[in-house]
């Protein structure tokens, strides 16, 4: 329980909206959040399938992805496999840099989801129907979490996944 409270307090730091809304009911929220905090570590392998995209900013399914380390990590792997990492790499600049915390089309979950699914220009516009819905949820959760990931941690994770395929290429296991 201690860990979850510490976990939540760290998390609350980077969600300003949560603190202002809590106001006087801080104790109650803290306990509720500490339970949610444990959700961060839950690892439900067979996630129930949200066949539909998120409807609005407060879709109840969002925390199950945005606040779950496993779902974010899965999003990261598909982010690599689907080739998103080719353009949105760690060192990308300008609009391609997903880690700078600036969102041109809005930072809420459903807005980022819509950009990934339908916002890409030209022949990349097919992600909406070429990537299964659950994977879009996971990739969205990963992308929205990127600003919290320090650059050296992201580089370290990219080094670990160097042997993995990216989009249409696979350069072979690093031997």
């Amino acid at each position: 329980m201690l860990m979850c409270i510490v976990d939540v307090s760290l998390e609350a730091r980077n969600e300003p909206a949560m603190i202002s809304r809590a106001g006087s009911r801080w104790g109650l929220v803290l306990i509720a959040l500490s339970l949610a905090g444990c959700g961060k570590e839950a690892r439900t392998l067979t996630a129930d399938l949200p066949q539909t995209p998120p409807h609005g900013r407060d879709d109840p399914r969002i925390p199950k992805y945005q606040n779950n380390a496993y779902q974010i990590a899965q999003g990261g792997r598909y982010f690599g496999w689907y080739g998103c990492g080719d353009c949105h790499a760690a060192g990308a600049s300008g609009v391609l840099d997903l880690g700078d915390g600036r969102w041109r089309h809005g930072s809420s979950f459903d807005q980022v989801y819509r950009v990934i699914a339908h916002g890409h220009p030209g022949e990349l516009a097919h992600y909406g129907d070429r990537i299964p819905t659950e994977q879009l949820w996971q990739v969205t959760a990963y992308v929205r979490n990127l600003p919290q990931v320090p650059t050296d941690k992201r580089r370290r994770q990219d080094h670990d996944a160097q042997g993995e395929p990216t989009g249409g290429t696979w350069s072979g296991a690093k031997r």
Partner: protein, 332 residues
């Protein structure tokens, strides 16, 4: 010798497709002989130990329950001498076993010098990517979860890992060897017996470590060449309307993001190569028998079959699902 040992160990499925006790390869055969030597030597020592213990207990059978006055520092000249004999016996037994190990090691190492068929196998989280070199064009021929080897010829399997540590193990043919990111391991296999064998990952690699198996078919050299030539060819064009519809769904839909079907626009590299999926014996790395029903089930609900697998569920309406399975089965 094998039947004797099998009987000794009261084995049920020893003649199975995944056991070191039914060697079908040169390497597994020398290890099986070494195992026989080990069983013999260790059984002798165990019988001796139990014998001494039983004898010691039987000698005092008269008064097992009554305590007696203790004897301090009795002279044990006889026992000291027998201790030296016992230690010598152990050392002799060990020399026998260490010698046997070195002989077996040399037998395994001798394959290193032979000209060998180059195959590269890469471990992914929870399936095997297998690549041959097409003898005609030199291009890489990729398949997955099914390894074909020509009988009698040594194959040098280059082992790599794309994500975490796995371990390549076909017990009927040879010992296992780990697949470690950043390390160039290779194992030599010289099959002697035709037929199907089964290999399984032997290093814990995450949620679906239990369902990371692969089939091994030892063919005659002619069969092997025919099989490799078939694998090198691009995918067959769909013969009937249903298969054509299936191809449109696969190539235009979600499958193409992760799978490649040579000869079509599907070019994703994240998942196994499906160019000749129809010719494979199993699906999902040895989890399902390759049938159309199995194929549809795996596409619609992979999490039910392999909970935690990275294969996403692809929701298709029944007609498309049926067409897709017909098309994939047609890719012999």
């Amino acid at each position: 010798m094998r039947r004797g040992l099998a009987f000794l160990l009261l084995l049920g499925g020893c003649a199975g497709q995944q056991t070191p006790l039914a060697p079908g390869g040169e390497q597994a055969a020398s290890l099986f002989t070494l195992f026989g030597l080990m069983m013999a030597v260790t059984s002798v020592f165990y019988v001796l130990v139990l014998g001494f213990l039983g004898w010691a207990a039987w000698r005092a059978r008269g008064h097992w329950s009554r305590g007696a006055a203790p004897v301090v520092e009795p002279d044990d000249v006889g026992l000291s001498r027998s201790l030296v004999v016992w230690a010598a016996l152990i050392i002799a037994g060990l020399f026998l076993l260490v010698g046997g190990s070195f002989v077996a090691e040399r037998a395994l190492a001798s394959a290193r010098a032979r000209e060998a068929l180059q195959v590269s196998v890469t471990g992914h989280q929870w399936w095997w990517r297998i690549q041959y070199r097409d003898p005609a064009t030199g291009a890489v021929v990729e398949t997955a979860n099914e390894l074909h080897l020509p009988v009698g010829r040594t194959a040098r399997i280059e082992l790599g890992a794309a994500d975490v540590i796995h371990s390549f193990w076909v017990p009927n043919l040879s010992g296992k060897l780990d697949m470690i990111p950043g390390r160039a391991n290779s194992v030599d296999i010289t099959p002697r017996q035709l037929g199907w064998f089964r290999g399984q990952c032997a290093e814990f690699c995450g949620a679906q470590h239990a369902h990371m198996a692969f089939s091994v078919k030892v063919d005659t050299p002619a069969e092997f060449a025919a099989w490799l030539a078939a694998q090198a060819r691009p995918a067959a064009t769909p013969a009937d309307a249903a298969a054509a519809r299936g191809q449109r769904v696969v190539v235009g839909g979600q499958c193409a993001m992760c799978h490649v079907i040579r000869g079509t626009a599907a070019g994703g590299r994240a998942g196994p190569d499906l160019t000749h999926i129809g010719s494979r014996r199993t699906l999902a790395a040895g989890t399902l028998v390759n049938t159309r029903g199995g194929m549809q089930g795996w596409i619609a609900h992979p999490q039910a079959i392999k909970p935690g697998t990275m294969m996403p569920p692809v929701a298709l309406d029944p007609a498309d699902a049926d067409a897709v399975s017909r098309y994939l089965e047609s890719l012999k």
